[in-house]
């Protein structure tokens, strides 16, 4: 675990800042990356790794850990940033992001990276794996939870809805899913590609306990994770997190929305400066 004492333990805002910073530094290494997504999901990851989840940084396969499945494998840059901040991956490896033989490939894979529980990238896989893991944990009478992060574009995959129904059928109350609604997928705004709204009503109809929050409001994210864990009814839980692509770097927040936002070579340092300017006191 982290060595910091209680008095100097960084707050969640500081964790989110550092996750964003790690992600931008990795983006600079390769000159590219899904940086806008990493910035939008950093607050959720800060709460997951520094408030909600149980794990041991020095033992990523610790049996009693909570599992975190990254279904949207292209968000790997964000998860690596969080795993570095959590001490699962040494900070020095950040310089190897996306390089040949690195443990940090551009798209997340279970066999490469400590703390990566699944090979994502082919979208729509995560929730199905989560169903099986949640079943397995119940078989083992474990109280560990399975967290699954996926994206709004993935709602187009039928398998997501297969898993939704199955999780409800088996009353998998040890499943907590987070869907990142940044309203941007490969070919444009997600809401213009697939009719997934009204999402809360849909998910509730599928038998889930649903909360919809501003995914960049730290207090709201924290409260949602707490409520998801504490909810007493035996049903799976999901947090619909509306997020802002590029969050924390104003010139990226304002950039024309795109699945793969282009960042010019000189802009990585500007992005770090922007993050530093917004660093919590």
């Amino acid at each position: 675990m982290n060595v910091e004492t209680l008095s100097n333990t960084p707050g969640l805002e500081e964790r989110a800042y550092r996750i964003r910073r790690n992600a931008v530094r990795m983006g600079e290494v390769q000159g590219q990356g899904y940086i806008a997504q990493a910035l939008d999901i950093a607050d959720v990851l800060a709460v997951a790794y520094f408030h909600a989840m149980r794990y041991r940084a020095d033992d990523p396969t610790w049996e009693e850990r909570d599992r975190f499945l990254l279904s949207n494998g292209h968000y790997a840059i964000a998860l690596y940033a969080a795993l570095i901040e959590a001490g699962v991956i040494p900070e020095a490896e950040l310089e190897l992001y996306g390089s040949d033989d690195s443990r940090l490939p551009m798209s997340g894979m279970a066999s490469y990276t400590p703390g990566m529980e699944m090979s994502g990238g082919s979208l729509g896989l995560g929730l199905s794996i989560a169903v099986g893991m949640a079943m397995g944990l119940k078989r083992k009478k474990s109280d560990s939870r399975v967290y699954t992060l996926f994206s709004d574009g993935e709602l187009g995959e039928g398998s997501v809805w297969e898993a939704m129904m199955s999780a409800a059928q088996y009353k998998l109350d040890n499943m907590i899913a987070i869907v990142d609604v940044n309203n941007q997928q490969a070919d444009g705004p997600a809401t213009e590609v697939t009719h997934f709204e009204p999402l809360v009503a849909k998910l509730e109809a599928f038998g889930w306990y649903v909360q919809r929050i501003d995914g960049n409001d730290m207090a709201a994210v924290t409260a949602a994770f707490d409520a998801a864990k504490a909810y007493p009814v035996p049903q799976p839980r999901i947090i619909v997190a509306d997020t802002l692509m590029g969050k924390g770097v104003p010139f990226l927040e304002d950039r024309e929305k795109n699945h793969f936002i282009r960042v010019e070579a000189h802009e990585w340092q500007l992005a770090l400066k922007a993050l530093d300017a917004g660093r919590p006191a």
């Binding site: 699944m118 794996i129 099986g132 949640a134 079943m135 944990l137 083992k140 398998s159």
Partner: protein, 349 residues
């Protein structure tokens, strides 16, 4: 040269699937004639389900999963014996294989069943990414392999071996009969890693008990020897090549039968040792399209070794096959005992 393409006579004759001529007598052929067993053949009921129950009595890590086909893959027998270890996943194959990966990640050994078409066609990416790529210990056991259903292409898994064989990490098994299934179930349970096994269900013929047979993953076995023909066959086609060998013997043609139930990893050493014996016609026989299955696998092994035997291949044509009764279809596509025997004799002339 591959045969089987003389099938689909209806289409060659320019006929279409129009309405039957009503003043003719009612046709008796039915798609419900779906048994692969001959009328007088000894059979065993549900060898897979019963064998899995036996293994599961000793191993609490084994769980069963099905996508609404428990009764049709004999897994319901396991479900009855171990209701709390039986996961009915509903009609959702993608979910099932993803969830199987998750259960395997938690240390369980899922036996996941459905029809071969639904596993290999609909859920291919889920098997590829969540099971094979992560090398999860999942056993995929699939009924209706190749041409064992008269329902037409929706249910006929004629290319399953090709696609599963192409998948890294995957062990691929095509058992012949009830005895082999009984032996294969504990063997694949013991094996670490993903396995795709073709399943014969219901009343399954019992053949290999007469050949002192012992299933081993990755081992081809010579069931009978002969100096004129070497049949290399897999799955239920080995029943047919054994019968064909007997029929050929009546014409003083001596046929050997090499049974290759593990398609991957292929037992190249045993295959090569047999093929190297001179003077024999080599005939590969499989219940699968001629593309990408055992025939091409054997051809590759043999050619890479620099051998050039007289090589022939009996398999299903590269077509969408007809609906109908299995005996009719097996004759039509050249994989019945009579068709195999006749074709082999022609090749020897």
């Amino acid at each position: 040269m591959a045969v089987g393409a003389q099938g689909a006579r209806r289409r060659e004759a320019g006929m279409t699937r129009g309405a039957p001529v009503m003043n003719k007598p009612r046709l008796t052929t039915s798609a419900m004639i779906a048994s692969i067993a001959d009328a007088d053949q000894p059979t065993k009921a549900a060898p897979f389900g019963n064998a899995l129950v036996e293994v599961a009595r000793k191993r609490s890590d084994i769980v069963g999963m099905t996508a609404d086909l428990g009764k049709y893959t004999d897994l319901h027998i396991f479900g009855k014996a171990f209701p709390d270890r039986y996961y009915q996943m509903g009609m959702a194959e993608q979910l099932m294989f993803g969830a199987a990966s998750g259960l395997a990640a938690e240390g369980f050994v899922p036996f996941a069943t459905t029809y071969a078409v639904f596993a290999t066609r609909r859920a291919y990416d889920f098997i590829h990414q969540t099971i094979a790529e992560e090398n999860r210990n999942v056993k995929i056991v699939c009924a209706l392999p190749g041409l064992t259903s008269g329902y037409g292409p929706s249910h006929q898994a004629t290319e399953d071996l090709a696609v599963m064989r192409a998948m890294p990490n995957m062990t691929v098994i095509d058992p012949c009969d009830a005895l082999e299934i009984e032996q294969a179930v504990p063997a694949i349970a013991e094996h670490q890693g993903p396995v795709y096994m073709r399943l014969l269900r219901g009343q399954v013929p019992l053949v290999l008990d007469k050949y002192d047979y012992r299933f081993e993953i990755g081992k081809a076995k010579l069931l009978c020897d002969g100096s004129d023909v070497l049949f290399i066959s897999t799955g239920l086609m080995t029943m047919r090549t054994l019968e064909a060998a007997q029929k050929l013997a009546a014409d003083k043609i001596a046929a050997a039968v090499l049974h290759v139930s593990t398609i991957k990893p292929l037992d190249a050493d045993t295959i090569l040792a047999q093929v190297r014996k001179p003077g024999r016609l080599v005939v590969v026989v499989e219940n699968h399209t001629v593309i990408g299955g055992l025939g091409e696998a054997v051809a590759g092994v043999v050619l890479r070794d620099g051998i050039a035997p007289k090589f022939r291949h009996i398999g299903l044509p590269d077509e969408f096959l007809d609906a109908g009764a299995l005996p009719t279809l097996h004759d039509r596509y050249g994989i019945s005992t009579d068709a195999i025997t006749k074709q082999t004799k022609q090749w020897l002339e």
